[in-house]
């Protein structure tokens, strides 16, 4: 039987040990009215047949040269990452409740926490949340708890990824937290901090600062952080961790640094996979430790003074604190932290900086090439990181369709005349030229 080791003899002898006649009898406490037939599912397939089916389905996917970003990014993932992350001992273990028998996962998580804290410039990190968007929602909830205020609002710039904002809305709306949009400047594509002074006075609990923002544009994080702090708000940095190979860590933003930092860990060795599983991270400064949601691993010792690692500060969590927990999260994205940790260890400071620099370089080159085409203009002026907006003189949808016919997914349509384009280290000069050539052709063609 698939995955069930029992022989007929086993079943018989076990039933007689239990003292029942049949397997049916094991379900005699289920009211007869509720008993059901086996579900009607497609006939079972052997591994050979399902393998063929899935290979066919996988074969159909993708294949186009995609210049898509908008929150999920294609990067080269060193082969060692998934060769190790796929090992059964990581893959098939549970959440490390029994510390002594789970030191592999626990020590790795401790190392992960250290890396994330180091990258973000924070004092500590939890051991993962579901994804970047839900982690940002958790950061908002956490900031509200930290602020210990009743009422008040959370500032969310219009430059935050709209998918993240939608997720925040779903997850915090049940608690009636007010989310206030902060406008961005149509020229730079960033928040204009100087205009913030003119904002109506409000009781700000927290301020989100995306870096880079949804349009790839770099925000003036120092000024924004100082402004947030001046309002008495907690500052939450929402960052792309890969960009932190070269960008200033949120812990050093402004005079006091961000208070919380969260974001999507997918760029760190996690495949695109049509949307998940990804990795949410959340780091903070020590004073907020006990408000942090999710697992946290700590270093400790055994009786003999040998170092070991355990899940700690569990009094924050649902299984202890129940209705008063910092979050309802239980299962998180453990295996994704394995991948991220391996990725960061393999790259190291130099490697990460080089990848980030190559992304920047390639996207800059691509932007220059594309904006040399008639009818293609820069969407914004500001400095950007590996993603930029184009303003097109032709309808975006038809341009994208024309590119698709040429094997290129040109980016994400933001509006009928605006396209968000991403270019990471994976795109060679040849790829960029191919895009430019195709766009030039399409712009001519779809012209009128």
């Amino acid at each position: 039987m698939p995955f069930i080791p029992h022989t007929q003899e086993d079943v018989q002898s076990m039933l007689s040990t239990i003292g029942v006649e049949s397997l049916d009898a094991l379900f005699d406490e289920i009211p007869t009215t509720l008993r059901s037939a086996p579900p009607r599912l497609p006939p079972p397939l052997k591994e050979m047949a399902i393998s063929r089916l899935m290979r066919e389905r996988a074969g159909k996917e993708g294949g186009a040269l995609a210049f898509l970003g908008a929150g999920a990014y294609e990067h080269h993932i060193p082969a060692a990452v998934w060769e190790i992350a796929g090992r059964g001992e990581f893959y098939s273990a549970y959440t490390p409740y029994q510390a002594e028998a789970s030191q592999g996962t626990l020590q790795l998580l401790y190392e992960y926490q250290t890396m994330i804290a180091g990258l973000t410039g924070m004092d500590l990190s939890n051991a993962s949340l579901y994804d970047g968007a839900s982690a940002t929602a958790e950061a908002v909830l956490m900031a509200v708890r930290c602020s210990q205020k009743q009422g008040g609002c959370v500032g969310i710039p219009a430059t935050v990824n709209p998918r993240v904002v939608a997720t925040i809305r779903t997850l915090v709306s049940q608690l009636g937290i007010e989310l206030v949009e902060i406008e961005s400047c149509p020229l730079t594509g960033a928040v204009d901090w100087q205009r913030l002074a003119g904002y109506p006075q409000r009781d700000w609990l927290a301020l989100l600062i995306p870096q880079p923002n949804y349009f790839g544009v770099l925000e003036e994080v120092d000024a924004l952080t100082n402004w947030g702090h001046a309002q008495g708000a907690l500052v939450i940095g929402v960052v792309n961790p890969l960009s932190l190979g070269v960008l200033k860590p949120p812990g050093e933003w402004g005079e006091k640094g961000a208070d919380l930092v969260c974001g999507e860990g997918q760029p760190l060795g996690i495949p695109l996979s049509s949307g998940g599983p990804y990795l949410g991270f959340l780091a903070c400064q020590t004073q907020w430790t006990r408000q942090l949601p999710g697992r946290i691993v700590g270093r400790t010792e055994d009786r003999r003074g040998q170092v070991g690692f355990v899940l700690t500060l569990q009094a924050r969590e649902q299984h202890i604190r129940r209705a008063k927990a910092t979050s309802n999260i239980c299962t998180n994205q453990g295996l994704m932290t394995v991948a991220a940790t391996l990725y960061l260890a393999l790259l190291g400071p130099t490697g990460l900086a080089r990848v980030a620099t190559a992304c920047h370089h390639n996207s800059k080159q691509l932007q220059e090439k594309l904006t040399g085409i008639v009818g293609v203009e820069k969407g914004y002026d500001g400095p950007f990181f590996h993603e930029f907006v184009l303003q097109l003189a032709r309808p975006v949808e038809s341009v994208l369709a024309g590119l698709f016919d040429r094997g290129i997914i040109g980016g994400l349509a933001l509006a009928s005349d605006r396209l968000l384009v991403c270019c990471t280290e994976t795109k060679t000069e040849q790829d960029r030229d191919r895009y430019a050539q195709a766009l030039e052709d399409v712009m001519k063609e779809s012209g009128g």
Partner: protein
């Protein structure tokens, strides 16, 4: 044997895997105030050092692939390797979530079929796959219950009923959804206390979250009555599907009358737990909650030629949705594993799963009680798991459930869940799952019996356990959790 150094201790300044000369690329054009002034404090190690360090670390885990792992409520069963390999096909891995649907017919068709199959198995009207774990499935379900009442203008329903035996995520979720949590007692028989329930329900009742079979490892015999009581009070019923492995192919929550259910695919559908995730928590609902399902979902349209076209369906098409729960579409890679599993197991196979999971649990319970252990509910049928209480052992030998658990590690078994559910003192919640053989169960029984003898003769052996956890660089003694919490040491710093 000393433990494994942390990766930072392996490093040397200036060491890098980066293979070649830096490119000409630079950041000159970016404002210096936006840049890092010092490199990030990451380890500086070679590829071999990384591979060796993490391979060695991995060996320090117990896991399904290496050990029996009877962790109650967690359904630690075999994760078929085919599911992993097929979900990791490059075609699936390399597709960007925002690519047009036409490049994703393979993955979308699989997810669509998974939605349908899960609806059939649970008996619910529709399923959304987007929640990223059980707790998020709960969130979706409870948020939908809230949305339902709000939509009907039934705004007084601020209370969520939760049995005292419930998993911690249940009350935590109810709070997160803005509900007041009200606990319902359990009777000595293990069934819910109907009197408490009757007393608790009222116009303020938004719903009840029930786990069935319950976290006590018992099928709730009065489930129909419970559902009637709550429905009649105007509340809805949430089904915590963590224990679905006990009843697939034998009974369906939808048939029982539940309005919402989450499914832990990392339990019943055998996707790996990954040392803490990712899982996925699809949520199923009855007709009345259908409009509120979280997005995105997968839709299917048949064209004139009879060919199916699959597409993501979002808030635009589903305006009453509670919204999206993640930036993209949830844990698709995990869902693909569940899909492959389900296609291999099939409908009759899903019944066989429940049958043999239940057989294993009842067998273990019978043998262990025969050997002198005390089942918390000896007169009940175990579902796919059951509870031993070590209260007698505590009273007689002074050894706790924790001591037993730690000693089991020395014997090469992962420990059952301990101290959950909270109702039963010194409890072990034991879930063998259907993928373990009788021989393995017999070895576990032998270990339990041996430990019980040790408890009588030399309780210190248990109290100081573990002594020699059988992993490389093992021999770690019991770790001091109190110290960890009192003086948190949460990131590595250079020490001397």
């Amino acid at each position: 044997m000393r433990g494994e150094r942390v990766i930072f201790e392996e490093g040397q300044p200036g060491r890098t895997n980066h293979q070649h000369a830096p490119d000409s690329a630079s950041l000159k054009d970016l404002p210096p105030t936006l840049l890092r002034s010092t490199p990030p404090p990451l380890p500086e190690v070679s590829e071999l050092q990384v591979v060796r360090h993490y391979t060695r670390l991995s060996q320090k885990n117990f896991s399904i692939d290496t050990h029996f792992y009877p962790l109650g409520s967690c359904t630690m069963k075999y994760n078929p390797r085919a599911c992993h390999v097929l979900a990791m096909l490059p075609g699936f891995l390399n597709r960007h979530p925002l690519e047009p649907d036409q490049t994703g017919q393979g993955v979308l068709s699989s997810l669509f079929e998974l939605q349908e199959m899960l609806a059939e198995i649970t008996g619910m009207a529709a399923v959304s796959l987007s929640p990223m774990a059980g707790a998020q499935g709960e969130f979706a379900g409870v948020a939908m219950i809230g949305a339902y009442h709000r939509q009907r203008g039934d705004v007084e329903r601020v209370e969520m009923l939760v049995p005292d035996a419930a998993h911690g995520t249940n009350p935590a979720t109810a709070s997160l959804c803005g509900f007041r949590v009200r606990e319902i007692a359990t009777q000595a028989t293990g069934d819910l206390d109907l009197d408490s329930l009757r007393e608790a329900v009222g116009p303020q009742t938004a719903g009840l979250m029930l786990t069935n079979p319950s976290t006590l490892g018992l099928f709730e015999r009065e489930v129909e009555t419970i559902i009637d009581i709550v429905h009649q009070a105007g509340g809805l019923l949430y089904y915590d599907g963590a224990n679905l492995n006990a009843i697939t192919g034998r009974a369906r929550p939808g048939d029982m009358g539940f309005d919402a259910i989450h499914i832990n695919v990392h339990k019943t559908f055998s996707t790996p737990h990954g040392g803490g995730g990712p899982g996925a928590g699809p949520v199923g609902v009855s007709k009345r909650l259908q409009p509120f399902l979280p997005v995105p979902m997968v839709g299917c349209q048949r064209d004139a030629a009879g060919k199916n076209h699959f597409a993501w369906v979002g808030a635009r098409e589903r305006p009453q949705t509670i919204g999206q729960l993640s930036a993209f579409m949830g844990n698709i890679g995990v869902l693909l594993r569940a899909y492959v599993y389900l296609r291999m197991v099939g409908g009759d196979g899903m019944r066989r799963v429940a049958d043999h999971a239940t057989l294993n649990a009842n067998y273990l319970m019978a043998r262990l009680t025969e050997a002198g252990f005390t089942a918390a509910f000896a007169n009940r049928r175990a579902s796919h798991e059951f509870i031993l209480t070590l209260k007698p052992e505590m009273d007689r030998f002074g050894v706790s459930a924790l001591d037993f658990a730690k000693r089991l590690l020395d014997y090469g078994f992962y420990a059952p869940t301990i101290y959950f559910p909270l109702l039963v003192p010194e409890c072990l919640l034991i879930e063998p799952t259907e993928t373990e053989s009788k021989e393995e169960l017999d070895r576990f029984i032998a270990a339990m019996v041996a430990i019980r003898s040790e408890a009588m003769e030399n309780p210190a052996l248990l109290k100081e356990a573990p002594h020699h956890v059988p992993v490389p660089g093992g021999g770690l003694g019991r770790l001091d959790e109190t110290r960890a919490a009192r003086k948190p040491d949460l990131i590595w710093k250079k020490r001397d």
